[in-house]
């Protein structure tokens, strides 16, 4: 790290040598790319852009304004809201003063937020709008350390008591006045004092279990990981991305902030969360990141619309998609493909693939990533066969994202790729994956016990995931290490592996598998309302609610066929054959984060579900064929209600183990 040390005390030279903090990168970028677009935001129907030098002016004013309000080195600042330019600027404006930004999930309820704000001892809270300001104000006296609330959008806030409440505009004006009268020397000196090993941000993990933990990341963690990522995917200042994922999530922090500053590319903020799809079409990002869910939803939307398309269009689509499945991936991977096939692919590109990519906003896509969970092989191949360079990576907050990633040309649907640059990986005897890298976090904030549990003295970090390297040296993740259990027969039981296989069917949105310490494997299933509703509409099946549709006999039959297909697949794998699904049921309500059944990042909270639906699990194992249940639900406005239903349970046939036969073929 010695190469990164730089002279302190000569502010004019900041950003000339390789910077080691984001504020230094800001100065550096304003010098390297003064007139290149740094950020865009669609407001009032028009895309507005800021160049790097405009960004510097705004952030400087904002930052000096924060200093005037009393923000000092070491102070924590909460950032609460959606992807708005000024919230991203807050990161840099706070860091320039030596403060530590703490982004918070905007959709978390007040009690969840209280814990994080108190634990992080935040002094300032930067809120997007009235909703977030109200939330913070409602916590009132519980927040001992909070001094000021600063907001972006004034709407509805005009009549509030403005003693400790300030608009960002006002803060900028304050800083601007300070700059006019006293210049920027002090501010630049403060930036120069920052160094790579300093704490850059605290990101709270969404907490699949227990209280969220504050992951402390240094500038070196973030900047080096981001730079490595840039080099790995050849990202330059010419990229454009769209920022639409939660600010508090490490993925967004790397893609829309760390890489944005280190590579100097342009980040575009959508008009509102509902317009992301059309905004993406207008921007056509060159670098795109999304959890599998986003790709699934996009594909489902396309398929639903194709079902409604005219006969000729539909046949053209089917015909060329089949061709794409045949040769698309080989062409993308640079393998040899016959001239005729290439020609036909070109025609397909003109007629089908091109318009499709345009529709999804992927026309200029250079590299796209999916991570967070396993993606369905069918879905993954669909995008790749269109010629989109979609790849998988495996990462964690504690690693500043990158652990493994797929290099160009070595893409597999079922692996997460090779170790990222400068990352070492080892697999323990119990299957758990450990890594060591420059991105490894400093520690959990105020939680040394958890830090010691996760990070060894020599810098190795437990991922908590079980996996193995295949013959090619690609890592394959099968499940959370602690979720991998055993059936009573002693056979391995990896619930997520089974759930993912089920979720790859477009009709199935979510699945929860049980089997640890049980006689056999049984599952809960959630149908996908978008896809099943469209099917119901086309088949003249009337229904009033999710509940009614979920219990429709034909829907049950379709799901039964899917489960049978999964059982066939499982039967063909030596390790998994014993965990074929013997019984299943379709849940009477959608699993929802508001009810605590999913995390804010939409992952299933297994233990919570096991407790909440205990009766249904018992019914799965005691042989009954239907069960009456009442479940408490929370509506979006926080009120509670009850829904009740009689849930049907189906038995499945088991398939013979077919792996030996397959192996012989």
């Amino acid at each position: 790290m010695n190469a990164r040390v730089q002279s302190v005390g000569n502010p004019a030279s900041i950003g000339n040598s390789e910077p080691d903090t984001f504020p230094k990168y800001l100065l550096h970028n304003a010098r390297r790319f003064p007139s290149r677009p740094a950020m865009r935001h669609k407001t009032y129907g028009i895309w507005q852009s800021w160049t790097w030098s405009e960004l510097l002016n705004d952030i400087r004013a904002y930052s000096m304004g924060l200093a005037a309000l009393g923000l000092k080195k070491g102070d924590k600042v909460a950032i609460i809201g959606q992807n708005r330019p000024r919230l991203y600027w807050t990161f840099c404006a706070v860091q320039a003063l030596g403060g530590i930004p703490v982004p918070v999930y905007a959709d978390s309820v007040a009690e969840e937020m209280v814990y994080v704000l108190n634990h992080a001892e935040v002094k300032f809270a930067i809120c997007q709008d009235q909703e977030q300001v109200d939330k913070v104000l409602s916590m009132g006296d519980e927040l001992a350390s909070l001094q000021k609330i600063i907001y972006d959008e004034i709407r509805g806030l005009r009549d509030y008591d403005h003693t400790d409440l300030h608009p960002i505009d006002g803060v900028e004006a304050l800083g601007e006045a300070e700059y006019e009268s006293n210049g920027e020397t002090l501010w630049l000196e403060e930036i120069a004092k920052g160094k790579g090993s300093d704490l850059a941000a605290i990101l709270y993990t969404s907490g699949t279990t227990g209280r969220p933990k504050g992951v402390m990341l240094s500038y070196d963690n973030l900047a080096i990981s981001a730079s490595n990522g840039n080099a790995f995917d050849h990202l330059t200042e010419k990229e454009e991305t769209i920022a639409y994922l939660p600010l508090a999530w490490v993925g967004d922090h790397i893609f829309s902030y760390a890489q944005h500053y280190t590579a100097g590319y342009c980040v575009c903020c959508p008009e509102s969360p509902e317009t992301v799809d059309s905004d993406r079409r207008e921007i056509a990002p060159t670098y795109f990141f999304a959890p599998p869910r986003v790709f699934e939803n996009l594909l489902t939307a396309i398929m639903v619309r194709m079902e409604d398309a005219g006969r000729i269009k539909k046949r053209m689509f089917d015909h060329f998609m089949e061709h794409a499945r045949k040769v698309g991936e080989s062409i993308l991977n640079g393998e040899s493909v016959s001239f005729l096939d290439r020609l036909k692919y070109k025609i397909g590109d003109l007629l089908v693939y091109g318009p499709l990519k345009n529709r999804m906003g992927f026309t200029r896509l250079k590299v796209g990533y999916t991570a967070g969970e396993a993606i369905g092989p069918e879905i993954f191949r669909f995008y790749r066969s269109l010629g989109l360079n979609l790849k998988q990576l495996y990462g964690q907050t504690e690693a500043s994202v990158y652990i493994t990633a797929q290099p160009d040309g070595e893409i597999r649907a079922d692996t997460v790729g090779r170790p990222s640059p400068e990352v070492e990986i080892r697999v323990e005897d119990n299957g758990e994956v450990l890594y060591r890298s420059p991105g490894v976090f400093v520690g959990y904030y105020k939680n040394d016990d958890a830090t010691a549990e996760t990070k060894t003295a020599d810098g190795w970090v437990h991922t908590g995931d079980a996996g193995f390297f295949d013959q090619e040296g690609h890592l394959k993740i099968i499940d959370r290490a602690r979720d991998v259990g055993k059936l009573k027969s002693g056979a391995l039981f990896a619930p997520k592996y089974i759930e993912n296989k089920l979720k790859f069917f477009p009709n199935i949105k979510e699945a929860v598998a049980f089997g640890d310490d049980r006689d056999f494997c049984a599952v809960f299933i959630n149908i996908d309302l978008t896809s099943v509703a469209s099917w119901a509409e086309r088949n003249n099946i009337a229904y009033a609610s999710y509940q009614e549709l979920a219990q429709h006999a034909t829907v049950y039959k379709t799901v039964e066929e899917h489960v049978d297909q999964v059982n066939r697949d499982l039967a063909s794998e030596e390790m998994m054959a014993a965990s074929q699904i013997r019984r299943f049921l379709i849940l009477h309500k959608e699993l929802d984060a508001d009810d605590g059944e999913l995390t804010r990042t939409q992952k299933v909270r297994r233990s919570f579900i096991a407790e909440r639906y205990g009766e249904l699990i018992d019914a799965l194992y005691d042989g009954t064929t239907e069960k009456y249940v009442e479940t408490e639900v929370t509506f979006e406005d926080g009120r509670k209600g009850k829904i009740s239903a009689t849930v049907e349970i189906r038995d499945m046939e088991m398939h013979e183990h077919s792996y030996s036969k397959k192996a012989a073929e």
Binding site: G45, W50, G170, E271
Partner: protein
């Protein structure tokens, strides 16, 4: 600093100031009677609407509420009585003249152009504010184009205000009912009215939609200072939203005052519970 539009700036209405202060009577209804043939819809009703307030008109079915709104915006012509708007006593007036004077309304049954996009529907709300004549409008380049840009900007602020960015280009007919209601409010707002008449803005909505709509009505009132007169059946909503309430029954005024006063008024209670006075 720079020329970027920031979201800390609020949308302000551009209609010229009428010299009235908050609390001055904006509209005075004096001894109005309206009948259709032999049917008396409204009998001797007087009340006023003060600038900046939310005024509710309530009453059982057939009480004459919508007739009252129709009188206010010039659609019906009362046989007796006078209406004074912004200090001017009004003689026979047509609805478009009312619109020009700054009265805008929404309807009990949505009256939007179903085949047109949300954006175009909102633009029609600006029609009374457009000054270029047919000649310029048909050439479109030059002054008319400039004018359209200004109006589009105002409409974009309303789209942002009502949070309907994602349906900007969707034909109105394809939208769910609750959203159509919101678009209709948007169109009325686009006219930058001095007085906004809302005829059952929450009819047929579910609880969540009602909460949203209430929020927008309060925000319109607070942020733009728009005076609002609304008819509504949901008593909870009326009592929470309005500053003053006037109660009609069988075409007569039976109560007028703050929500609390009206709630405790025996005549009003009787009208709603259907108690007969003869028995006393």
């Amino acid at each position: 600093m720079n020329m970027h539009i920031t979201r800390s700036q609020e949308l302000r209405m551009t209609r010229p100031d009428d010299g009235l202060n908050k609390g001055d009577p904006l509209l005075v209804v004096d001894d109005i009677s309206l009948s259709f043939g032999g049917v008396k819809a409204i009998t001797d009703i007087s009340f006023d609407i003060k600038k900046g307030e939310i005024r509710a008109i309530i009453g059982p079915n057939g009480a004459g509420k919508t007739s009252m709104l129709n009188v206010i915006n010039g659609f019906y012509h009362p046989q007796e009585g006078t209406i004074t708007f912004r200090g001017n006593k009004r003689s026979r007036m047509r609805p478009h003249e009312a619109a020009n004077q700054g009265i805008a309304r929404t309807f009990q049954n949505i009256a939007l152009f179903k085949g047109m996009s949300v954006l175009d529907n909102l633009m029609t709300g600006r029609i009374t504010l457009m000054k270029r004549n047919l000649f310029w409008q048909s050439i479109w380049r030059g002054p008319a184009e400039q004018e359209e840009l200004e109006h589009r900007q105002a409409v974009e602020h309303i789209i942002d205000f009502l949070e309907i960015e994602s349906i900007r280009k969707t034909p109105v007919g394809r939208l769910p009912y609750g959203l159509q209601k919101r678009v209709e409010l948007g169109r009325a707002l686009a006219a930058e009215p001095a007085l906004l008449l809302l005829d059952e803005p929450m009819a047929g909505m579910n609880l969540e939609e009602k909460e949203d709509m209430s929020r927008y009505i309060l925000d319109v009132n607070q942020q733009f200072g728009t005076t609002i007169a609304l008819i509504e059946h949901d008593m909870g909503v009326v009592m929470d939203l309005s500053d003053r309430v006037v109660v009609l029954d069988y075409g007569r005024k039976i109560g007028d005052g703050s929500p609390d006063e009206v709630r405790n008024n025996q005549d009003v209670i009787d009208a709603y519970l259907g108690v007969s006075h003869d028995g006393e």
